[in-house]
Amino acid sequence: MIDVRLLATALEDDACLSYVASEADGGTVLFKGTIRNRTAGKPVLRLTFEAYDAMAVREMESIAAEGLEKWRCHRVAIHHRTGTLLPGDTAVLIAVAAPHRQAAFDCCQFCIDTLKLRVPIWKKEVFADGEVWVAAHP
């Protein structure tokens, strides 16, 4: 079972954790990515996430399905923000439940690693002296 959402409103830990909860599973792993107040020592004012919505959702669904199958997990929830976020805000939540913990850890890590490689979402960091599209340049 897969629950993928691309949301313009605040992400809720409990929405992901509740979705994956099941009495058949003993291990749940949640990854929560939040906005840091500094990048390379420089204060971050805010971030903007832009997404190619339709494809971002499809890619997240495909990553979740691949993770579920590879590690035989039961449930995966991936929620990702769009719009403007402040330091401390949650950018992404990934929850995975499995009968045993190793599968949940491995699947969750696969999902966030792969999301960062191929889901069409872009973040721009805003500093006091300008803006930067993250990772755009070598």
Partner: protein, 81 residues
């Protein structure tokens, strides 16, 4: 000639100056031909770590032969999460 729509995100949108653009390409043009054309018109693309293409909502390699009416999406380095 092929008529295509470009859809640009992130820094690619900044480089071409708009979210969408229309383009004419010779028949049998591939994404590689489009890449060459974009680099000629917008040299700033050469500075990026990468530039991938999707057609509709699927990633495609440079060998992909563009069809009339395709929506080609310019995907600069992603940075979600």
């Amino acid at each position: 000639m092929l008529n295509i729509q470009l859809l640009a995100f992130g820094i690619a949108r900044d480089i071409i100056g708009s979210r969408t653009a229309s383009l004419e390409l010779p028949d049998d043009a591939s994404l590689q031909d489009l890449r060459i054309l974009l680099l000629e018109r917008f040299p700033a693309f050469a500075q990026l770590r990468s530039l991938a293409f999707a057609v509709n909502t699927d990633y495609q390699t440079d060998e992909y032969l563009i069809r009339d009416g395709d929506e080609v999406v310019l995907i600069p380095p992603v940075s979600g999460g």
